[in-house]
Symmetry: C2
Subunit: 519 residues, 2 copies
């Protein structure tokens, strides 16, 4: 019996096995598609590539367009290829890839982003496909096996696969035989519709409340295809000096909170975003003073394996194993050790306010920019150009015990190594409001905004977080704004509304946000 | 035995009874105070007034300043009097009153606003009074009785009284003998600290999970004062034509959702904010086609009594009975009927994402303005001038099954009956992001933004919600922004960033937002 047949323990499904080419007639222009996958792990790698081949070969660019509902990012080899073949119409809720980003920003791709937990439930509620009766026409799901009852054993991510399976009319399965069966790693709960939703009885990070497989109506399964492509995963670059400094400020702050009795000795469950700074923070924990740590997050990256290896991390809950190729190798080599300490959940649960708030998660994420009053922009450069999407940053920031945003204080432009200040008077787009965030950090220092009114916040953010090159300019903005607004009796959150984006204007015209002054 | 003594069923506390004047020595300049009260019901009415008399008589203005942590608004006769006597330094998280608002906006009062559910828990976590060991120096709590065990039987609101009682060093009780004992109306759950928080097992609006009293260490009680002042409550004005039109659009939409199978016949639990439009919506439900309704909200206003009387409302959960004087009279006259159908919860629970999301609440709130891409401003006029505070609008909007924001499409200025458009290119302050809101409504119509990318959202909002006087101006902004941004490859959410507030500038300079054009 082939490995593929072994993985499909419900033998009546063997007759649905076919070649990827045979699935092509299932696709029609304008369909709503749901795919497994998250940051880019567990997405279908065979059928989308074959369909792209078909479109290219038959010059169907612009004539085979689809609406894609996925957990988050998928591999660029698929994402960008589909975008370049004009196959992507709507795309929710997150993407990475140069071609897709170009399409999103030139009007070719209609992308939307919503907080991941909300997106998951709204997809399940049928809100995104109202015109389609709340259904998806077709799903493509990567699995590592099928149980005797037809339950789907997923791969390295869950994302919105649960909701997709619930609302899909037809399902294509890609059984990945190049990686082990991930059976036992998932804790699957399907979405109930209100008024019939019940509490998620998770009081500890490691609590399990569901099944190890996604229940699936076998009649929906129209094709099963073998996949032999492992996830390429996501490699991390080594932390730089700036990231190390930011991590240092955060670790010092956490120690101070423990001393003050506002955090237990082993902290509270940690959520850490993606990127250099997140890695540096986790790296700091590897050598730091805290033990018996737990992680409640949406992505587990390679550095989390280091934290497990250090013996300091007890358990991690996530919706995705966003490891590098090397990270996956480590995982497979030490499978029992790691997998007994990890659970993968639907993102409707990993990102749900309910467990995040109950568990008291410490959230840490990197925005594009934040402002002196404590608003952050995570998605749109200059208020318009989409980068990737909001992801789970809002789910975590709004509901965390401590909501931390970290960023370098400046970024370089072509002509000025500090041409962009990430601490601005007023962010050009708001993803996280002043009502959401507690702590802002740059390599310059840490601003604890808890309990401060907007004006007190502004002063501490300028003093602690702004780069010295920009501090006088920001202070001048704040001082002038106070004078102007107090005189008009409108100084709760002082702004010079019509000059608030002058630094951004200077950037476009002069290549740097360092400008002479405000008048 | 006096009524006061009867209400205090723990007789050992009778010795703490004193005159309000005798409490004055308990107050010291700079103290952190916690008061009961919410929208303005259940706040202390005696001691704060006596302390104000004392400050006035002894010319202590500016020498007796306090930080006030309350549930939400209190009566203006206290709020504004304290502000005029310079007694209010910090003030969280919401206020109403002309004098306090002046102070907030001229720099005298340091106000902060956070989502009510978050504010409640962060107060309980000790974040607002870090410098004070996370404690409040003194609490003043209105009660309608004390149990044999010293449990506090609250009055017409809960708010953050639970958290205040937990972190207060000393407590003054005002026993209100002018109103009935509200025993049995409250469902009290105290705040546990993570990692020891547990699920709130509320699966139906009417589920009770706590006690009918607030557990309180009797040693903390330093004074008991009698109060004979009933709540003045909050009167409502009759709905105007604009509000009726908005309510009409919403009711039609809800019927459409029922027909489409996306809502049950009796809808889902309703949250309705304060003001004319909210009244009109509830008024529409009184005569509308829906039965067996439930309400999960933060304030119960007079129109909810009408809805009970109509037989269409089964149960309501709230943190406050924000009734008018006449409404309270109706409540007392038909006490058993109403109170068997109402429960009052701590706002940490009434506004908590956990039950709001689980129950699938339909939220409806009025912002100051919203923009074509679906952001809303609920707090700051011109991005700077504070009105009242964000209240619970973010708690509900972010977590609702359907998140609805409603507003008149225009407001008058001195010189133009349509001088202000509430539908703008870019809101001057963001309290609710594009990732939070589903439906925008004005008297012009209803825009269903679910599943739409920003550009598709903008078109439907302009077409459905904008006033005809402003539609061409907004369309022109949108068209030009697309051309400019697509050309630069930054058109996911097209803006002319440096012209986005031109209409607001025109308003300040010309008294109307109707302007000639964008160039």
């Amino acid at each position: 019996m082939s490995e593929l047949h072994k993985r499909i323990r419900r033998s009546s499904l063997h007759e649905k096995i076919m070649s990827p080419e045979e699935t092509i007639p299932l696709f029609k222009n304008g369909m709503d598609l749901g795919w497994s996958g998250f940051t880019p792990v567990g997405y279908p790698k065979v059928v989308p590539a074959i369909l792209a081949d078909y479109v290219e070969k038959n010059a169907l660019q612009g004539k085979m367009r689809f609406n894609l509902y996925i957990g988050a990012s998928i591999g660029v080899e698929i994402e960008d290829r589909w975008a370049s073949l004009k196959m992507t119409d709507k795309r929710w809720p997150y993407q990475t890839g140069k071609v897709i980003q170009k399409g999103v920003n030139n009007g070719e791709v209609r992308m939307g982003d919503k907080h991941l937990s909300l997106y998951a439930q709204d997809l399940g509620y049928g809100f995104y496909t109202k015109e389609n009766g709340g259904k998806l026409d077709l799903a493509i799901i990567e699995v590592t096996g099928i149980t005797e009852d037809g339950g789907l054993i997923l791969a390295g991510s869950v994302g919105v696969t649960t909701e997709i399976v619930q609302i899909a009319k037809k399902i294509i399965l890609e059984v990945n035989t190049s990686i082990p069966s991930f059976e036992g790693l998932h804790d699957i709960v399907m979405l109930d519709l209100p008024p019939h939703r019940t509490p998620y009885l998770i009081s500890k990070v490691e609590d399990r409340i569901g099944t190890t497989y996604v229940p699936c109506d076998p009649d929906k399964i129209v094709a099963i295809v073998e996949s032999r492509f492992p996830d390429n995963g996501r490699a991390l670059s080594a932390p730089d000096e700036c990231s190390e400094q930011i991590a240092g400020h955060i670790l010092e702050f956490l120690q101070h909170e423990v001393k003050s009795g506002r955090l237990p000795k082993n902290l509270l469950p940690i959520q850490s975003g993606v990127g250099n700074i997140a890695n540096a923070v986790v790296g700091g924990l590897v050598t730091g003073p805290f033990n018996n740590l737990k992680v409640w997050t949406e992505v587990i990256q390679d550095t989390m394996l280091d934290l497990f290896d250090s013996g300091k991390l007890e358990f991690a809950s996530s919706t995705s194993l966003s490891l590098s190729a090397d990270g996956f190798r480590r995982l497979y080599e030490n499978w029992d050790f790691y997998t007994s300490r990890v659970v993968l959940r639907p993102m409707q649960i990993s990102n749900n306010p309910e467990p995040i708030r109950r568990l008291g998660v410490i959230s840490m994420n990197t925005p594009v920019e934040f402002d002196i009053y404590g608003h952050a922009n995570s998605t749109l450069v200059m208020g318009s150009r989409m980068i990737n999407g909001i992801g789970g940053s809002g789910d975590f920031s709004r509901n965390a015990y401590l909501s931390i945003m970290h960023s370098p204080s400046t970024r370089p432009t072509k002509t000025d190594p500090h041409g962009i200040t990430c601490v601005v008077p007023k962010v050009t787009h708001v993803d996280h409001t002043e009502h959401d965030l507690d702590i802002l950090v740059t390599e310059q220092g840490l601003a604890d905004m808890r309990g401060l009114c907007p004006r007190d916040r502004a002063q501490v953010v300028i003093d602690r977080c702004a780069h010295p090159h920009y501090r006088p300019l920001l202070q001048d903005y704040f001082d002038r704004s106070q004078r102007e607004c107090f005189a008009k009796g409108m100084g709760h959150q002082p702004h010079m509304l019509f000059a608030a984006y002058a630094m951004q204007k200077n950037l476009l015209e002069e290549g740097t946000m360092r400008m002479a002054g405000w008048s």
